[in-house]
Structures are given as C-alpha cells and as structure tokens.
Symmetry: C2
C-alpha cells in the first residue's frame, strides 16, 4: 500500500477534504461578481478570526510576504524599531525591518523564553520608538507570547504594534482591535487549514496614519493598492483564486465550530502532547507557563540525533515531525497540532514517537505517552 503521510509539522498542515474539494472546482475569473462575492464572504469571516472591525487584506504570498507588507507600508529608513526576539521568526521580523532601513533594536529573550513585558516597558521608557515587532507564536521554540500585555504597553507608549501571527491565527485567540494590534499578519497554511500561498493582514487606523508617510518602494505589497481594490472586493493583482475558494470553506468550518471551541481544542492537544512527552521522560523545550497551544517541542534524549529519530519515524510510520532550526538543529523535535488535526492524529503521533524512540535504543514503556495524552483528552479540556 502507498504510505500515508501525516503532517505534524507547523505548516503546511493537513487540508480538510472539503477544502480540497472547493479548490478543485473549476476556476472562476477574478474580475467577476462571483469572485467579488467570495471575497466579501472571506472579508467578514476573517474579521471575526482577526477580532477586528477594520479591513483584512488577502495577499497572494507566503506569510513572510505579509510581514514584508507590514514593514514596507509603515516603517521608513531611520525609524527606531524595537524587535522582540524569542526565536527564528522574531529574528526574521527584525531582519526585515533592517532591510527597510530601520534602526532596529533587537530585544532578545533567549530561544525558549517568552517576551517579558516588564523588560519591554523598560525599553519603551527610553523611547520614542516608531514600532514594536512581536511574534505571537514563536514556532521555532514552541513559545507563545502575551500579545495582549504587549499591546497594553504599545498603546500606553503610543508605539505601533506589528504582530506576526502566521502560525497562531485560527488556533490561538487574538483580538486585533481589543488588544491594540496595529498590523496583524497571518498565512493560510497553518491553523487556517489551507495550502500555502495566501497571507492575510489587518491594519488599524493608527497604522494607516503611519502608512501615509511611508516612503519605501513597494508595488506588489502596497497596502493602499490593496485597500483601493477591496472597496470593490477586488485585488490589485491576480489572486490565487483556488486558495481563496479553499479558505472560504476552511473559515466556515472554524466559525461553525466556534472560535472558543477551536482555541480550547488546540490547548487540549497541546496539554495532551506535553503530558505524553513528560511521561516518556523527555524534557520540554518551552516552559509550560508559555507553552504554545499549536506546536510542542522537546529535547531529544541525550546522545540521540533528533533528526535521525524524525527520519526513522517518517520512514517507518509516515508521521512527519518538525526538527529544530538554527542552533536547535538536531537537538529537538517538534510536534505540531494545529488546524485539521484531531485526537486520533495526536495519539497516533505519540505512539509513532514511542516506536521510534524504542527502535533507536531509548528505553520506552510502550503506551506510556499515549496513556498520558489519553488522560488529558478524556477530560476534553486542557483548562480544567
């Protein structure tokens, strides 16, 4: 039999068959009423998931393209920018602002630690800064950052807040308006359950003010161009029509389940995976107080190459786990549980991990990790 591959990586994530079916329908033209109607539906649904009353723009690009749009439309050369760095994606955000000529101060919290709002406030006191760059879910270290607390500070100190929610939106609560996020960026291939190719971005009135003075050359990622087109539920350049169609179905699934339930489901799987890893005697990558609800990391056992372990698990069981990036390469593995992932997927991945550990000579009590996860899942709620 052809091997079944189970994606347990932080994007691309498994796509629900109904989304695939929507994308497989004959294409519609992008300058048609049908496309405008589709775009209008997406707009309403995205506003709910973003927690915003403002417009959300859909760009045909990866999440990084969305982050570039955030920076290119608000930051000018010489602007002082405070980048909150908790891992690889925080570094990328800082790098982007540097490319656009900002005077970037990277505030490093160490890989595996979350942003400490107290430290941020100390820095903001020594401002003024034009903007703060933050990562909601730092995928590389499986750490979730407290955007609400950061947003309180950026509002108090009157600094723009640009947030990378690429791997969090749809799996973790975020409230762009209520939390004071000025530019919020996400992508299609994570908790939103659609193949890669779309970035989505919301822009606050305060960020539009900054955009008025933006001088960086930009065309494809021009937010004013996107805004102008959205007035007619159009896009300035040809959109990835099939992905729009898939996103429509995926968002419907998320909103039908209810955002609260979706977020709780992700927290529950996170707790289940963490309990499983601990039961197997593995050390978690992130402190549990800031553990990501969408992806969980663990250190490989002493003397074991995490990438060897991952390769074996993929080869033998078809379960694709993520490895470590940069300085964590070969030392950790990550299990994503975002989007179209259910309890059986989680339990199967844990079982495959147990098998892989056993086969690489690590002492394992078969079923111990699975049982720990089951105990959490039987409760059905990570929060109680």
């Amino acid at each position: 039999m052809a091997q079944k591959i189970r994606l347990m990586i932080p994007g691309p994530t498994p796509v629900p068959p109904a989304v695939t079916a929507a994308m497989a329908q004959p294409l519609i033209g992008h300058r048609t009423q049908e496309f405008a109607a589709l775009h209008a539906r997406l707009e309403k649904k995205l506003q709910q998931v973003f927690g915003t009353e403002h417009e959300v723009y859909i760009l045909t690009s990866s999440g990084t393209g969305g982050m570039e749009a955030a920076v290119a439309n608000t930051i000018n050369p010489g602007d002082r920018v405070l980048a909150l760095v908790t891992g690889k994606f925080g570094e990328r955000f800082a790098e982007l602002a540097q490319v656009y000529g900002a005077e970037v101060e990277a505030l490093e919290f160490g890989w595996g630690n979350p942003v400490d709002p107290g430290v941020v406030e100390d820095r903001l006191k020594r401002g003024p800064y034009k903007a703060v760059l933050a990562t909601h879910n730092e995928t590389s270290t499986t750490v979730a950052n407290d955007i609400r607390a950061i947003g309180e500070l950026t509002r108090r100190y009157e600094v723009l807040l640009l947030v990378d929610a690429v791997s969090s939106l749809g799996g973790m609560e975020i409230q762009a308006d209520a939390w004071g996020v000025d530019v919020l960026v996400t992508a299609s291939q994570k908790a939103l359950m659609v193949p890669p190719g779309l970035a989505m971005i919301s822009v606050s009135p305060r960020a539009w003010e900054a955009a008025k003075d933006a001088r960086a050359p930009r065309y494809y990622f021009s937010l004013p161009a996107a805004k102008k087109s959205l007035a007619k539920y159009n896009t300035p350049y040809t959109p990835a029509v099939s992905l729009f169609a898939g996103l429509d179905v995926a968002l419907e699934m998320i909103l039908s389940e209810g955002l609260e339930k979706v977020y709780r489901r992700h927290r529950t799987y996170s707790r289940a995976v963490r309990e499983a890893l601990k039961a197997l005697g593995l050390k978690l990558l992130a402190p549990e107080t800031c553990a990501s609800p969408v992806v969980t990391g663990a250190w490989a056992p002493e003397g074991l190459d995490a990438d060897d372990l991952r390769r074996r698990i993929l080869r033998e069981y078809g379960v694709l786990l993520a490895g470590g990036q940069a300085q964590l390469k070969g030392r950790i593995f990550r299990i994503a549980h975002m989007g179209y992932v259910d309890a059986v997927d989680v339990l199967g991945a844990i079982a495959a991990l147990e098998m892989g550990l056993y086969q690489t000579g690590f002492p394992v009590t078969f079923g111990a990790g699975v049982a720990a996860a089951q105990a959490v899942l039987a409760g059905g709620n990570a929060d109680v």
Copy 2:
C-alpha cells in the same frame, strides 16, 4: 442543471483535470526530500519552456510580484530605464520601475500597435540605458511584440532586457538565452494551465552582475535568497506547495505534446478566431501582422456596449469573455485561447458570440463565424 462556465479570458485559464487532481493530493512538507525532488523536476521542465540553461526561480505570488522581483533586483534609483509601452501591462512595468526610483522613459507605441524596433534603436543610440522593459504579449491590446528583435538591439547596445512574458510563456515561443533576455517573468495561470499563485523568473549572468549592485530594499522578492535556496531545491519562504504539484503535471503535458506543437496550436486558434470575427463583420483590435497567438480582441459593433454583450453571453451561455481595460473599456471584447483550450472550446465561444450578437440586435448569419473558424481548424495549421 448548474451552469457550466467556460473561461475564455486571458487568465485564470481552464485547469486540466489531471492538474486539479495533482493539487488535490495530500500536501507534502516543503522541507522534505519529496519537495526537493518535485522542485528539481520543475526546474528542468521550466528551463525547457524558458529556453534557458540558467536557473528559473519560482515565487509564490502573481506575475506582478515576479515583475517586481525583476525590477527590484536589477534597478537602482536614478538608473535610466527605457520602457516599451504597447498597452496596460507595459504601463505597469514602467510604473514599477518608477516606484523603484528609476528615471523611466516610456516609449509609447499606442494601444493596438506593436513595438517598432527601429524606434527603439533610435532611442538606444541616445543612451546609455541600464535596462529596457518589454512586454512579450500585451494582453490588453492583443498585440505580440518581437522580443527576438528587441533582444538583438539590447545586446548590441549592452543594455539589460527585462521581459514580461506573463501571458505568453507556454503559448508563444520564447528563448531566453538565444534571444538575449536577461530577466524573463511569467505566471502560472495563463498558458501554463495552473491556477494563479506562482510567478517564475529566469536570470541571465549579465542580470546577476547588475543584481550585485542592487540597493532597493527587498526580502520576499530577493533573487539572491531564491538562488541560495534553489541550490538545495528549496525556497526561502513557504512555497504554494499544491500549485507546485499542479505545475509539475501541467509542464509534463506541455512537454509531452512538444513545444513546437503547442505553439502551433495557439497560432492556429488565433487565426481561427480572427477569421471568425472578420466573417462576422467585426473589426479586429490588433493588426494581423502582430496579432497575439493567445488572445484575440475585436471592437464591439457601432452603438453596442461590449460589456453588455459580454454579460449576456456569460448569462445565457456560460462563456466568459474578457472586456477592455482603461480607455478600451466597453469598446472591445477579447477571446483568450491560451492553455487548456481546444478546438471545440474555440468553436463554442464563437457560436455563443454569434448568439449574443444576434440577441443584441446585430445582424448575424448564424454559423458564419463558426464556419470561418472551422475552415482554419480543418487545415490544422495557421502557418500554411
């Protein structure tokens, strides 16, 4: 019965079921050996269609994003750039270079006329210019430009040649290396028969020389980043994996048919449509000496709103024709015959056009247009 929609617009174009099926397969991770193998296959196939021995980079964006990559990686503020403008897409290319601070001289040939190489040479004599921007197929006016002749000039005058082949590549011959095209850009949703979301771009050694000195801020569209990743058949940012899978199948179809046959097929349909329109007493938009092989335009009959005609044909017969852009809006209609379009599609569109014309009060001999197209198709070769 649900209405069948037939896309006869210059992108997105109909997608072959085999391409749709490939895109509907479960996603693969983009940091896997399978993805690298897919990317390597694409690379080889794209080089054949581009006519290049150099690398071709695949960007997750529309064609405009690819055009921005062409400009942002080679042009610096203050560079003198000669933009050859024959319609809307030529204007867009010029606009892009302006956004990046180039001193752009737009050489306008008038909407409906092709580039006159003699006029270009006169200008090049008054150089030096850093680059010439050209449109291979100017979709807005259904005019094909002679890139080979322009390439002879840009080589002789040692100017970079950047070419927008978004709507031509895969449907019209182009030879990046042999014709001296330094940067060649195309997109997935035209003659390549894949949904929108991918741009592809080839870069000559001469363009790489220019890229060394490029100072524009760019991150997502950085060609050096794309080059670095391609060494491992990787991409710097998450690629639109499902579209890559679709492109693999689509290119296989094109190469199996054989490029010469594919190009001839497009020329044949172009001639069939032109003969049909003339038989119906309509005036062609472009002179036949430079008529596009992939899209054909005609003026609406005196007193008839072209967009009313198009709407009726769509509503009654499900055939979507393209309208005019900018100053041509409401005055012309365009029939695309690019990509996954066959003789019956062409004949059906002509028949629907006849019905639409009749119903709007234009005198039509039923079948006259169809018969003229059939006479061409029966010959099977537009070139004889």
